[in-house]
């Protein structure tokens, strides 16, 4: 409280945070006054350092960079230069040349989303009416933005001589690179702050330290990248994370000094690794196998991040750790659902595998090979995958008609409901027929389907969705008994067009079977008479005046019974309609065959990957040599192992994984 007092008089005007948008800045650039200040900034920049070259060097910590036209661009050839030898490891590095690297940088350089900017007070812009804040912000946004990147400051406020800005972590990383830039004659000091409130540290803390932190972080990140690159095998799509403690690259970095262990470095490795990929699919394609052998893991909590980074992993090797029971895997929860191979050789748990097998199979529903033993066939895995989509297989319609009553009714219904609802009522409905409709406004409609949903207004006042309608009078008024009442409702509902049932049968699924115990309209049978229950799933288009097609999905259930003597032969006892936003009807699966070929290919590939991993495991050879050895022995693991044993003394040193403790 007391400490705040001296700050307050400096001007509440500046202290109040202002929210800024991109639009305002552009407008300003075109307008009069402040533009000059902006331009000043530019002019000073250009005069002192010759533009792009300096900007690149200083801003991006890349050392001397070739000056190329719009040199700010990411992914230009300049990036490739400091990758050097690493570049051969195609897949893992692919991400480096894309914008995604920015995300990485921002994650590693700072977790903060607030920056403290100093230097404005000594700039020429300080004499502006607002103390130069607006022009500074415009300058920062413009300079930090690149051709593919629109940096936007979300919030800003001036406190004392410093300006605090808030932006997304990605944008902050870009702005942070402007540290040391010259703005309107003054050198800017930019440093990360946890929050504006904790920002009032001594100023000399500033520039130097900041530079160190930032360049250290960049260096660490670069080193982790090369560690990863050296441990990646593109042919096998294998990321070898075994014996991390012995990694020369990591040791050189000193990350294992003192108390820092795998638990510290692993999450950082995963962040760097995960950041290399734009999409989950890309990651899934590049890395199918990971080995975490020889990491002294008593449980997986130190490597929890693996599950977040590689949820779709297929092959996992945990050999020679200290895993003793299934609960040691708890940190991974229900992750790695798609695991196909799991290797636990050299763990205490190995002795209990026989008893744990069923639990492990349950945990990993598509696991095929456990410790080199096949526990599911590829067919079983394929079937399990199909089952996951619908555990209860989707069969064709169960249409058990009685004397074509159902078929005839549906054929007439579909046509007459669209064209002549009165005729439909006259043909099938009587004074006791009951009708009601309900709207399901929350129905799923498939993630690929983003068609707008036509308003429910015409139906909602008649919707008898009992999830929502809880009072008896409404429940009663929305139940329509007798053709007259139904006629009244139907004449108020939108006109419809149902697909032609003859030519577009695939738009419908219709099922029916006999239903016992209907009231006998003749009153003769005390135990009632048999009827038919029909359920029709389909879609219709509304004939609205409003533009655009309104397509809806519906299901409709009818109970049909014999008519009273002298009336229609068949009467509708019940007619229930439920409406939902349109979605593609789940049609029965055709017998599978067309996909058989692709399945075989991918399982073949998977098998080879798994086999190579096992050979790596048994021999300590690199994945490349293991794959080579397997190729030469016709992908027979035993033969490959024999070949290895016979020749291992003749193999060059680089045929072996250097780190493996053998």
């Amino acid at each position: 409280m007391l400490q705040r007092a001296p700050v307050a008089p400096r001007g509440p005007r500046n202290a109040s945070p202002s929210v800024r948008g991109r639009g305002g800045i552009q407008k300003r650039n075109k307008a009069g006054g402040p533009v000059r200040v902006d331009r000043d900034g530019d002019l000073v920049m250009d005069a002192t350092a010759g533009g792009d070259k300096r900007r690149l060097g200083k801003g991006r910590l890349e050392g001397p960079a070739p000056s190329r036209g719009a040199g700010r661009g990411r992914g230009g050839p300049s990036r490739g230069a400091n990758l050097g030898a690493v570049k051969t490891q195609q897949a893992i590095i692919r991400g480096l040349e894309t914008r995604q690297a920015n995300v990485l940088e921002s994650r590693i350089t700072t977790g903060s989303t607030t920056l403290q900017i100093d230097g404005l007070s000594s700039s020429k812009a300080a004499s502006n009416p607002d103390g130069g804040v607006e022009s500074l912000l415009a300058f920062l946004e413009r300079k930090a933005s690149g051709p593919n990147k629109n940096v936007k400051i979300k919030k800003s406020h001036k406190k004392g001589d410093s300006v605090f800005v808030t932006a997304s972590s990605e944008d902050i990383a870009e702005i942070q690179k402007l540290d040391g830039f010259t703005f309107a004659g003054a050198t800017l000091g930019i440093q990360a702050r946890d929050s504006p409130s904790s920002a009032s540290r001594p100023d000399k803390f500033g520039d130097k330290r900041k530079d160190e932190v930032s360049s250290n972080a960049m260096e660490i990140k670069e080193r982790l990248k090369s560690v990863l690159a050296a441990r990646y095998n593109g042919d096998l799509k294998l990321l070898n994370l075994s014996a991390l403690v012995q990694d020369p690259g990591l040791r050189e970095m000193g990350v294992f000094d003192g108390n820092t262990t795998t638990s510290k470095i692993f999450p950082a490795l995963m962040v760097v690794c995960g950041g290399l990929f734009q999409t989950r699919q890309e990651k899934q394609d590049a890395i199918v196998s990971v080995t975490l052998a020889d990491n002294d893991l008593a449980d997986v909590s130190d490597v929890t991040a693996l599950a977040q980074t590689f949820p779709d992993l297929q092959h996992l090797d945990l050999s020679r750790n200290r895993l003793a029971q299934l609960s040691n895997f708890d940190a991974w929860g229900a992750k790695f659902k798609h695991l196909s191979t799991l290797i636990l050789t050299g763990n205490p748990i190995e002795t209990q595998l026989a008893t744990l097998k069923s639990d492990i199979m349950k945990k990993y529903p598509y696991l095929e090979i456990l410790n080199g033993i096949q526990i599911r066939t590829p067919q079983e895995v394929a079937a399990a995958l199909e089952t996951a989509k619908s555990p209860i297989p989707i069969g064709g319609p169960d249409f058990r008609d009685v004397g074509q009553v159902g078929e005839n009714f549906i054929r007439q219904f579909v046509v007459l409901y669209d064209t002549d609802r009165s005729a439909l009522l006259a043909n099938f409905y009587d004074a006791q027929s009951v009708h009601s409709l309900s709207v399901n406004q929350n129905a799923p409609r498939g993630h690929k389907n983003s068609a707008p949903i036509a308003p429910w207004a015409p139906y909602i006042k008649q919707s008898r969705n009992l999830v929502k309608i809880n009072n008896l009078p409404t429940q009663m008024t929305r139940l329509h008994r007798g053709s007259q009442a139904i006629q009244k409702l139907w004449s108020a509902l939108p006109a419809t067009r149902h697909p032609d049932i003859q030519t577009q049968g695939d738009k419908y699924l219709i099922e029916c079977h006999a239903l016992p115990g209907l009231a006998d309209p003749t009153g003769q049978s005390v135990r009632g008479v048999d009827g038919l229950i029909i359920t029709m799933h389909g879609e219709f288009e509304e004939q609205n005046e409003s533009p655009g097609r309104a397509l809806r999905s519906f299901s409709r259930t009818f109970v049909l019974g014999p008519g009273a003597s002298g009336g229609q032969p068949i009467r509708v006892v019940s007619d229930m309609l439920t409406l939902r936003a349109w979605g593609p009807l789940a049609l029965p699966k055709p017998p599978r065959n067309p996909q058989a070929n692709t399945t075989i290919i991918s399982t073949e590939q998977q098998k080879q990957e798994a086999m190579a991993m096992q050979l790596v495991e048994r021999t300590g050879m690199t994945p490349q040599y293991s794959a080579l050895c397997l190729t030469e022995t016709g992908w027979d693991l035993e033969k490959a192992f024999i070949a290895f044993t016979a020749n291992k003394d003749k193999l060059p040193a680089d045929a072996f994984i250097t780190n493996s403790a053998r």
């Binding site: 229900a334 659902k337 529903p365 089952t387 996951a388 989509k389 619908s390 555990p391 209860i392 297989p393 989707i394 069969g395 319609p397 169960d398 009951v434 009601s436 409709l437 309900s438 709207v439 399901n440 406004q441 929350n442 129905a443 799923p444 409609r445 993630h447 008898r464 969705n465 009992l466 999830v467 008896l472 429940q475 009663m476 139940l479 699924l509 099922e511 079977h513 239903l515 016992p516 115990g517 209907l518 009231a519 005390v526 135990r527 009632g528 229950i533 359920t535 799933h537 999905s553 299901s555 259930t557 109970v559 019940s574 229930m576 439920t578 939902r580 979605g583 593609p584 009807l585 789940a586």
Partner: protein
């Protein structure tokens, strides 16, 4: 024959439907629910004229106890969600399988057959996408119920069911 008022008819039917909808899908969601599923249906009994008729995704389920294996085949984290339902009384004096003493009259609405139509969604744990389902159920009185066991037993049982994934 004493007819019930339309008021009672709707009230009893909605209560029965509500009770069914709120307990049946929870049983499917429950990992240990498989064994309880058959309790919702009329029993397969050669002597009773009332037989269960169950169709799930077009597959005929001969005996309600077979649902247990269907339940087992779904992943443990399956979740059915009822998003809308409606119900209508099909017969206000349903007597199939009723003891002789109960043939006449239905003033309290305990002898109806009630059609329940449910529209909802289901997420099978391993699947990426939520699917839609529509379920049609005919509830009939549980004739087995006596004053003694009224509290433990379900008042209404499923005689006919047509369930299908529609999305």
């Amino acid at each position: 024959m004493t007819d019930i008022s339309e008021n009672t008819e709707v009230k009893v039917a909605v209560e029965a439907a509500d009770m069914f909808v709120n307990s049946y899908y929870k049983t499917w969601n429950k990992e240990s629910g498989g064994k309880e599923l058959s309790h919702f249906y009329v029993k397969v009994n050669p002597e009773s004229p009332l037989k269960p008729d169950i169709t799930i995704n077009g597959n005929i389920v001969e005996d309600p106890t077979d649902l247990e294996s269907l339940h087992r085949s779904q992943p443990s984290k399956t979740h059915y969600e009822v998003e809308a339902f409606d119900c209508q009384v099909v017969n206000t004096n349903f007597t199939v399988g009723a003891p002789e003493t109960l043939l006449e009259g239905n003033p309290t609405g305990k002898k109806m057959s009630i059609l329940v139509m449910v529209s909802g969604s289901v997420k099978y744990a391993d699947a990426e996408e939520t699917r839609g389902f529509v379920d049609n159920v005919l509830l009939v009185p549980n004739w087995d119920i006596t004053k003694k066991n009224e509290k433990e037993k379900k008042k209404w049982l499923v005689q006919s069911q047509t369930f299908r994934l529609v999305l």
